[in-house]
Every structure is written in structure tokens, then in C-alpha cells.
Symmetry: C2
Subunit: 462 residues, 2 copies
């Protein structure tokens, strides 16, 4: 049977198996979902075996397990390592979902006239890594697998991949590969295929500010005792100046500045500011002075409050002068910022600016290094050729604002360049209510991955 | 039977009846307690009838009802109107209470060696207005009531007394009195009795800042799209300068500045800064430059964030760029600031400083006027004499930071001076977990109120 007819014949099953995986609420951040995280790992293992892997195993870690599998057809042939993650972001706020986050439904949208799968994890990353399993299955079933394949699918990407580092270091030989495929990014559009060559790193911090030892009456004490919310707001506000530059001393010291020509090339990617604003329903974009939107998310570091809370947040009014206020603050980093250095610098600076009237605690949740990927490696050229074949257009190299902390680790420890072979769109609502992934993207991804295997094997043998 | 022997004989019952009232969670701010608010009103009505009121009724309002009662012994004699409120602040955070907030327990503390009643509303205001009911009962039972008494006990004080205004205007004749007694404030200490002659007003606002139309991935959009939390923090921080002066244009225009001698007299009240800081476990107080702690809470307006929320506030980390952020912000006002004017000014200013990259909504929850009470009226002199008789020391006139919005209303509409005849202490944890009220304060209050009736009738007849 040919590849196209095998896919055509199994289309419904390929989709249904993904929906089944999406029904498992494998939220890694929340301990109350730990059983579901285990169940997702077991489902991935079973899928890999079913697809034709020689062996697959669930490798325990001190956190959530890593699923490892391989299909070695000839040690002399090149080897592709696929990385992905079966864990998902928390789905709250649940009330903003149009359908329950763990009951996937397929609905048509203006961007996805063929339909999109709505579910937490649909694009990030279940729908994307599962394409690789279906590509393997197709290659094995049609007798066309041209090289060896390994899979490493982890369960802690959304909480910082805390235990992957250790696993990679302990399994260097086993993970040896000529190229690493990661589908956890997006393209510019269906008409504008692209391959990500730059990712931002991250340092994710939490701050706790304490005023008095108990909640106080804001009448009796207001004006005389520090209000930790006001203080926290003042500290957060002071972290950026009027140009939206980040004021942490030393923050930009290691930031790689791009040359004018590099910046120009970056800005040549298709981008429609009016459409961008219309989709988000905003009057104006908002960011660092002197940079375009593409640059602000691609090559510049950020500081965003991801969550804040303190005092009375219920209905109506309560005149409390709270004892504590909290914020989760993350910084996206660019080459060559070091996340641990930035985390230390953040902590030291916040402690230095806190007034004597409050106590402050700062902790780092997790972090990851920024990464830049070669756009001339064998793997990149194979990916480029595969996309050109299926999309009919040569993909553009782009820089994406998100973080995949392990990309830098793979480069450093495994010595092979990862290819950021993503098929999502930036409108997929990753980390948001109503996350979705185009059905067409899913099947185009499977086809393109299969084409990649062919191109990569051909390029490797020449 | 004499007054002291009647009180002594009924001591346990006087206390138990208050505990019964404290068991009703009459939280006015939260609609889920509306039945309990009704139940508290019914309990108050029954208590008043039992104490000897000629008649008592539950007067409906568009919100929570007002309990009105009276005992008219002779229209020619003077009349005392008692005001209080049977509603309480929300009790959360529940986990910080040492015992459940609506299961009152009596425990000894260093400040209350005779024991204090721990419960939400113990001091604010159930324990305090209930003293007046027990004083009435004692006077009636012992045949010593020297004048007429009216009671107006409302259920919306903690949410701004929204419907009291209308009730007062509609019932001016019925509420006619020579003096109004309000026990909803505190004294300096058991050894330092005091009577409050100044209260701050309040404008309580809520702000909602919206960035994009949905939560976004902080990697894909971070740095390019406004983060409503960062924006909200910047706006809040900008509302105070480095001297902790409030920067709202026009905010101080109507603030009454006290003369140096008035300020000096205010600062003569006993106050130990080290003890104040130690009790709150703070290194430093925090407030407007150029004013003492007593002045900061007594004669200066404030701006405090009472609650803030937005983004991910659960366990762990979520890299969300949220769509919305919220804050509840209240300003305590001093004579002659007008709360409605200040609320408008706040709204206009916040809208003017919001960047074009966000949408902003500002609403006023409620407000109240600041008030200054005469310290030479007949009522004040009777209160002074009563306190001197029971505490053995002439009480000091003080200014308190809290707000009782209706004081200014009473002055204006009923034409009689309210006496802020509070018997609590500032350590009673009003609006906080572990609110309590001294058992001794409760009984000293009853005795002092009875003495007030005698002194007031004597002074009135001379």
C-alpha cells in the first residue's frame, strides 16, 4: 500500500487516537492530576508499540516519567530522535472555555475551514508529537522507514523539564542521534510555512511580600502600616522604565544584539499589524521602544507578571489592609542570557528595593536557556525540502518568543541540532482557553514528517 | 433590685445571648449569606422586644433590612437613638482563624486576662450594639429608665449603608432624638478610655484592566502585547509619589489642615511606637512623610489596595499573559473631602493614565463622608461623665481612622450629634481573622451606657 492510501484509509483512526489522548487531563503543574499524568504516559507507550517501535518503556524520574522508545532497523543508517511532551498546561479559567478542555470537539473556524480540534494540549503538544507516532506507524506499515527512530516524550515540559536534564546526561549513548525533531512551535501560516530557528529562554519567579503579621482594618491602620499590595505594585512598576526597558541592573549585559541586516531579514517575514491587533481586539501593541512586534517577541527579553493576588478578591467590598501579597513573574530570555544568573539578579534586586516596612521572599520556580538553531545543517535542509514539498513553498526561518528549555540542553549534551518542526499557528490559543489544533495541520504534519525522513536519509547518504 | 445586682444575676445569660447572635454568619457582602442576614435581623428584633421595647419591627429596604424599635416612656423626656449594625465583614481567609469564625469561644489573652469572645463580629459590631440592648433591659427591669430610647440597627454597614440614607430621610420624625449613641469604635485602652470625635470617610473603587481578548501564551506574545497586570501595577504605583503623597490631581484640595496646636494635642494621646511595631511584627511603619502614625490614621487621607487579582494564581507556574487584571482600591477621606467627588476624580484620572494598549473600567462600590463630632455637646459631656465614673479616668477625645459613613448623614439630616461611644480596643482584629471582644469590655460597656442615660437625663433637665 502506498503512503497516501495508508493515511487515507486510517484517517479517522489517526484522529480518534489523538482525541483519546486529549481526554486525559495530564496537567503536570497540579499534583491532583498526577494519576492522569501517569495514564497519559502509559497511553503514549502503548501508541509507540502499536506504531511499530521495537521497544518502549516508561522511565521513572523523581517527577513525572519520560516515555522512551526506539525502532532500530540498521545501526549504520542515520538516526532521528523525536522529542515531545505529553503534559499540558492547567486549563483554568474553565469558565472561559466554550467546551470542556478535556472533552475534545472538532469545530470549523475561519482560520480552520476543515475543522480544528478544541482541547487543552491539542496543539501544545499532544497533537504535535502524536503526528510523529502516526508518521512512524505509516512508514513501518508501508515498509518505507528509511532510517532509525528514537522517541523521548516527557511529562514535565510545562513545569520546566526539571528531570529531563538528568535523564539526558545519564542516557547520552542511548539518545545518540543525527538529528532531533521537535514539533512544539508554530508556523507563520498555512500559506507561509516556516521553521523556528530561535527560541527565548525563561526565568520564572515567585514573590511574596508581607506587611503586618495579620490582615488589618484598613481604617484603623491604613496610611500608617505598609500595604503589601501597594508595595508589590510599586516594586513591579519599577522593574520597567518609560521606554519599557527592564531596569534590573545587569539584565541586558549578555543580550546578543543583532546586526541591522539580521534585524532587517527578521522583519521581512509576513506580518500584518492591523490584523494582529484586530485578532487580539487591542487598539495598540505595547512593548519596548525601538523594536518592532516581530523583534519584541523574537529577539528581546521580557518581564511579565503571570499572576498576582492578595487581599479580598470576592464579591463586593472588604476594607482589609492585607498581610500578604503575591506575584508570579517570568522573564523570557534571549541569547546569551543565563537564566540562573538572571534569577539571582532578580532576587537580589527585589530584596534591595523592598522597603524596611515589609518582608520579602523571592523564589525561582524554574528556568531554561534561550537557543538559536542553525539554518544550514543537514537536518534543517531536509526539513526545508520536506516543507517545500508538502506546502508548495520554501519555509522561512523565524524566531519564536516561546521557550523550550531543553533545546539548549540537546545542543550542548547530545551535540546534534534540534529541528523546531512545528505545524501549529499562533492563533491556536496555546496556554489559553479554547486551545485548538487544525485537523489539516495534523495531517499535513504527518505527511511532512514522512517527507523529512526521506529527504534526511537521502541527504545523509550523499 | 439594684442595677449592679440585676447585671450580676444575669451575667451568664447576657453573654450567652450575644454568643447566639455571633453564631449567625450575617455577612452582608456575600449573597450566599442572605438568609443568615435575615436571621440576624429577626434575632435583634426579638432581643429588643425581650429587653422591653414597646414595639420593634424589621423594616425592609432594597437591600438588607433595618431593625427599628422604641421605648417611649414620656414624650416630654429626652430621647436617645442607638445606632448599630448586625451585619459583619466576610470571614475569609478562614484558614487563618484559630477557631471557626461563627463558633464563638471565650479565651484569655494577655490583653484580656478575663477572657475575650473570638468570633467574626464580636467587636464589629454585634458585641458593641448588643450592650445597648442589655443596658435597656437592665434599666427597664430595675425601673430606672430615665428617658426615651429608639434603636436603629442596620444590616449594610460593611457594604456602605446603601439604603440607610433613604430610610433616614423617609423617617426623620420617627428617628427624632436628642442624641445618637454609636458603639462601633475603639478606645485607646482599658486604662486610657477615650471617645472618638473624628472619623475618616471612604470611597471604595474597583478597577478592571483588559489587554487582549483572551489569555495568551507569554512566550508567543510576551513583550509585544500589553500585560494588564503590569499595566495595573504601574497605574497603582503612580498613584503615590516617593513621599507617599497621593498624586490624584485635586485629591488634597479640600483636606482640612489642622493647626500646629491641634496637631500637638492629637499627638499627646498615649502611643508607644515600639509596642505598635512589635504587635504587628513590622520593622518600620510606612506612610506619608511629615506626619506621625497618629496623624496618618487620624487626620490624613489614604489610598490602599484592598484586593488584587489576575492571571494564574494556583500552584506552580503557568506562563500566561492574562487578558484581565482587577483591583479593589479604597481611599479613606478626611474633612472636607467629598467621597463622590473623589470617586469621580479617581475614575477620570485612571482612565486618563491608562495606555492605549488596554481597556479600563472603573466603578465605585460605595463611599461615605468623613465626620468630626463636637467635644462640647451635652451628649459628649454625658458620655465623658459616664466613662469617668466607670473607668475612673476622664476620657480623651481622639480621631479614628475608620469610617462610619452614616455619622455625617445623622449630623446633616437628624441635626443631633452622634456620640462615638466605642468600648473595643485597636487590637481586637476587626475585619481580620481572630476578631475578638473583651468580656470585660462588654460588661463595662453596659455599665457605662447605663451611666450615660443617667448623666444625659440629669444634664438635659438642668
Amino acid at each position: 500500500m502506498t503512503i497516501p492510501s495508508f493515511i487515507e484509509k486510517n484517517k479517522d483512526r489517526f484522529l480518534e487516537e489523538l482525541l483519546e489522548l486529549l481526554r486525559i487531563p495530564s496537567v503536570s503543574a497540579d499534583p491532583k492530576f498526577s494519576k492522569e499524568v501517569q495514564a497519559a504516559a502509559a497511553y503514549v507507550k502503548a501508541s509507540l508499540l502499536k506504531a511499530g517501535a521495537d521497544q518502549a518503556e516508561i522511565c521513572p524520574t523523581p517527577g513525572h516519567p519520560i516515555v522512551y522508545a526506539e525502532k532500530i532497523i540498521d545501526p549504520k543508517l542515520p538516526t532521528v530522535l523525536v522529542y515531545g511532551h505529553y503534559d499540558v498546561q492547567p486549563a483554568d479559567p474553565y469558565e472561559l472555555w466554550d467546551s470542556p478542555p478535556f472533552e475534545p470537539v472538532i469545530k470549523k473556524t475561519s482560520i480552520h475551514p476543515e475543522g480544528a480540534i478544541f482541547a487543552r494540549g491539542a496543539a501544545d503538544d499532544k497533537g504535535q508529537f502524536y503526528m510523529h507516532i502516526k508518521a512512524l506507524e505509516t512508514l513501518v506499515a508501508t515498509g518505507t522507514l528509511p532510517c532509525n527512530v528514537k522517541f523521548m516524550i516527557e511529562g514535565e515540559e510545562e513545569i520546566g523539564s526539571d528531570h529531563l536534564n538528568q535523564f539526558v546526561l545519564a542516557n547520552k549513548d542511548r539518545l545518540k542521534a543525527d538529528v532531533i525533531l521537535i514539533s512544539d512551535t508554530h508556523m507563520i501560516g498555512m500559506q507561509d510555512p516556516s521553521i523556528t530557528v530561535g527560541l527565548r529562554g525563561m526565568a520564572y519567579m515567585e514573590v511574596e511580600v508581607t506587611g503586618a503579621n495579620r490582615d488589618l482594618h484598613s481604617g484603623t491602620y491604613g496610611g500608617a502600616v505598609a500595604n503589601p499590595i501597594n508595595v508589590l505594585c510599586q516594586m513591579i512598576a519599577s522593574l520597567k522604565d518609560e521606554q519599557e526597558h527592564i531596569t534590573l541592573p545587569g539584565f541586558y549585559d549578555k543580550v546578543q544584539e543583532l546586526s541591522p541586516s539580521q534585524r532587517q531579514r527578521l522583519n521581512e517575514a509576513p506580518f500584518d499589524l492591523s490584523e494582529y491587533k484586530a485578532k487580539l481586539d487591542i487598539e495598540e501593541v505595547h512593548g519596548e521602544k525601538g523594536y518592532t512586534t516581530i523583534e519584541r517577541v523574537g529577539i528581546r527579553p521580557t518581564l511579565d507578571v503571570n499572576g498576582i493576588w492578595g487581599g479580598y478578591t470576592g464579591e463586593g467590598a472588604k476594607t482589609v489592609l492585607p498581610s500578604k501579597a503575591f506575584a508570579k513573574i517570568s522573564m523570557r530570555l534571549v541569547p546569551h542570557q543565563d537564566w540562573q544568573e538572571i534569577a539571582q539578579l532578580f532576587e537580589a534586586h527585589l530584596k534591595s528595593i523592598a522597603p524596611a516596612s515589609v518582608k520579602i521572599q523571592v523564589k525561582a520556580h524554574h528556568g531554561g536557556a534561550p537557543a538559536v538553531v542553525s539554518d544550514s545543517s543537514l537536518g534543517y535542509r531536509a526539513a526545508e525540502a520536506a516543507m517545500e514539498e508538502t506546502f508548495g513553498k520554501r519555509p522561512l526561518p523565524t524566531r519564536e518568543g516561546g521557550s523550550i528549555p531543553i533545546v539548549a540542553l540537546f545542543q550542548q549534551e547530545l551535540g546534534s541540532d534540534p529541528i523546531l518542526f512545528g505545524f501549529g499557528l499562533d492563533t491556536d490559543a496555546l496556554h489559553s482557553p479554547n486551545e485548538h489544533y487544525g485537523v489539516k495541520n495534523y495531517f499535513m504534519g504527518i505527511e511532512t514528517i514522512i517527507a523529512f525522513f526521506r529527504h534526511f536519509s537521502q541527504l545523509s547518504s550523499t
